[in-house]
């Protein structure tokens, strides 16, 4: 479970995150929805301890991220916006590197990588160096790398960015599978269909604030709109930014 309480973060004079609070529960997929520049990535970065909030608190399974950053990182599987691989290492070696950094023994790591390679359908390319991988192959490797230590909580920043239809479908399938296993899944996106197709709960962020929160159904009702997109537009206000 991930709890975010009243997070603030500014860069110079720009208030990127201005009091964001929400909770992402276990066994649910929570979507952080907002236009580009709304503060989603910054919020997530504070959540996975890459940045320090100016104010506010992050609790992951009840552990304070500011006090115990290493323990919080251990219970988080993170797919950041930046997901570069080491091109001279094979996919397996890329995953194994992170496994070692998480403290897995080589035997544990190998076993775990076998499972992930099977689940994510990576058999064909797992032994190859990652130079020249397709977007889908890269993403699978990056996801396997993020989940190699079997984290309870999974955070994904714009996970379907740059994926084709088939790869997107597969990823959604995989995320549902994680939800089924009782994981807490938190993802950010600016794509409406993603939220409608995937999320149990939606947190809408605009201009660094939470403007609405609830199930997709609740949001539609709250805004008095048939379609989620329309509800989204009404909730964030039309001047909040450009939608892709």
């Amino acid at each position: 479970m991930i709890e975010v309480r009243d997070l603030h973060k500014s860069f110079g004079s720009v208030q990127a995150v201005d009091g964001v609070s929400f909770t992402a529960a276990d066994g649910q997929i929570t979507g952080l929805l907002g236009p580009n520049g709304a503060g989603k990535t910054t919020t997530l970065r504070m959540l996975y301890t890459l940045m320090h909030p100016d104010r506010g608190q992050v609790l992951v399974d009840g552990v304070d991220a500011a006090r115990e950053p290493l323990q919080v990182r251990r219970s988080l599987g993170v797919l950041p916006d930046a997901r570069g691989l080491y091109k001279r290492l094979t996919a397996r070696e890329n995953i194994g590197y992170f496994a070692a950094l998480h403290g897995l023994t080589p035997t544990q790591a190998e076993a775990r990588i076998d499972v992930l390679v099977n689940t994510l359908d990576m058999q064909e390319f797992a032994g190859r160096r990652t130079e020249g991988f397709s977007q889908g192959q890269r993403l699978k490797t990056a996801i396997a790398r993020a989940l190699v230590h079997e984290p309870r909580n999974i955070v994904l920043d714009e996970p379907t960015n740059g994926l084709d239809v088939l790869a997107t479908r597969n990823l959604r399938q995989f995320l549902r599978q994680l939800r089924g296993q009782g994981h807490c899944v938190l993802l950010s996106t600016h794509i409406m269909q993603e939220v409608a197709a995937l999320c149990d709960r939606v947190v809408i962020i605009a201009r660094g604030r939470v403007v609405a929160e609830g199930t997709p159904q609740q949001l539609r009702e709250q805004a008095g709109a048939e379609q989620l997109e329309e509800a989204f537009m009404r909730l964030i206000g039309s001047d909040a930014g450009e939608l892709v």
Binding site: R45, Y48, T49, L50, M51, H52, L70, Q71, R73, R74, L76, V78, L79, P80, D81, A82, R83, G84, L85, Y86, K87, R88, L89, E93, Y97, F98, A100, L101, H102, G103, A142, R145, A146
Partner: protein, 391 residues
């Protein structure tokens, strides 16, 4: 396993697969210097040795006025070339290099016991001609002294009158210290090798990881950032140190291949040299790795980092240049200056002088302290938020 060790091993493994890193660390860095040095030295030495034995071709004008002189010069290796018209013009236009002109009045002056005139016509601004003119001058000089002595004897005077001063040069240079002059580039080469050996890894630790978007995922792992940094520094230092070892080996080989005994120099690049130089270089290698990482961390991209590091590379030239052009006396405090102390110690060893334990310790401790300080700086930089975030 500790985070530092994991990062270190991964960086080594990855770099060993990078041809560019391998060529730089194990080929260009350590071998190019000794190779160029070897070739250059061979050319210089061969030319020196040949020059002493070779005949000296000189255009002679007025040979008929001084047959005895020419015969004597011929014994010393002078080879007479046919005369040319307007020798000054010929020398200026570089048609001929060196002209000996004997004045028509030579024989007359000679018989009268007056100074007989000979002209040397050459262009001193041409290096190789200058040396030959000097040789001819020397030949004429010695002939002149010989004749003077004979004349004095024939007039019943002691030839020693001619030499109120007896100058005897007693050069205290040993064969080894002459060798040190020859191998004077070696300290700088070794330091430069340390710079080149780990440069790609140093850039990769920050600018490189950021550019290929792998720094953020890396830093989300439950390992303190300083351990990640330390692992990367160690990897860079490992490569740099391997480069230095190879370079020492190459120089030892170069020393063995040069005809040093014919040149009258001795050079000891054997085990004793290596066993003192290596420990002295270890702290420097660490310091360099950290400095490079520090500098590279400020760069926005890989390319920019390379530019910055090119400038950093010029720093070790400062003590080298000082040592080469300002022949100051070595003092103990100089061994407390990183970069300078290593070059001083290597220079001493090359000259066949011992490096005291105090000097070696001072050099190692001061450089280690500097490395520690630089590491704290680098650590602080690595901990900053901006570093982690991909541009």
């Amino acid at each position: 396993m500790n985070g530092t060790a994991i990062v270190w091993i991964k960086e080594l493994r990855e770099s060993l697969r990078d041809r560019r890193v391998l060529i730089n660390a194990f080929l260009l860095g350590p071998l190019l210097g000794p190779l160029i040095f070897l070739l250059l030295m061979r050319v210089v030495v061969d030319r020196e040795l040949q020059r002493a034995q070779q005949s000296l071709p000189v255009v002679v004008i007025g040979a008929e006025y001084a047959p005895n002189l020419l015969q004597a010069l011929g014994q010393s290796g002078l080879q007479v070339l046919p005369p040319v018209d307007n020798p000054e013009q010929a020398v200026r236009s570089q048609r001929v290099d060196l002209v000996l002109r004997i004045a028509p009045s030579f024989a007359e002056s000679w018989r009268a016991g007056e100074p007989a005139q000979v002209d040397l016509i050459y262009d001193a601004s041409r290096r190789e001609v200058g040396a030959r003119a000097q040789r001819l001058h020397g030949m004429l000089d010695s002939y002149s002294r010989r004749i003077a002595a004979m004349r004095m004897v024939s007039r019943g005077l002691s030839p020693t009158l001619q030499a109120p001063l007896l100058i005897s040069e007693r050069d205290q240079a040993t064969a080894q210290s002459r060798g040190a002059v020859l191998f004077g580039v070696l300290p700088y080469m070794l330091v430069l090798t340390a710079f080149l050996g780990g440069i790609f890894l140093a850039i990769d630790a920050t600018a490189g990881e950021r550019e290929r978007q792998s720094l953020e995922p890396l830093l989300v792992n439950p390992v303190p950032r300083w351990q990640v940094l330390a692992g990367k520094l160690l990897a860079s230092a490992t490569f740099s140190f391997s480069s230095v070892c190879l370079s020492l080996l190459a120089f030892a080989l170069a020393g063995a291949l040069l005809p040093t005994e014919r040149m009258g120099v001795a050079i000891d690049l054997g085990p004793r040299f290596v066993f003192i130089v290596l420990p002295v270089m270890v702290p420097l290698v660490l310091l360099i790795a950290i400095l490079q990482t520090l500098v590279a961390a400020f760069a926005r991209s890989y390319r920019e980092a390379q530019t910055h590091l090119g400038l950093l590379q010029l720093i070790p030239m400062i003590p080298s240049a000082l040592l080469a052009f300002l022949p100051f006396k070595q003092q103990l405090w100089m061994y407390a200056v990183p970069l300078l102390s290593q070059q001083l110690a290597i220079m001493r060893l090359l000259r066949g002088e011992p490096v005291t334990l105090l000097q070696a310790l001072l050099s190692m401790v001061s450089t280690l302290l500097a490395a520690l300080l630089a590491f704290q700086l680098a650590r602080r930089l690595y901990d900053s938020e901006q570093l982690a975030v991909s541009a």
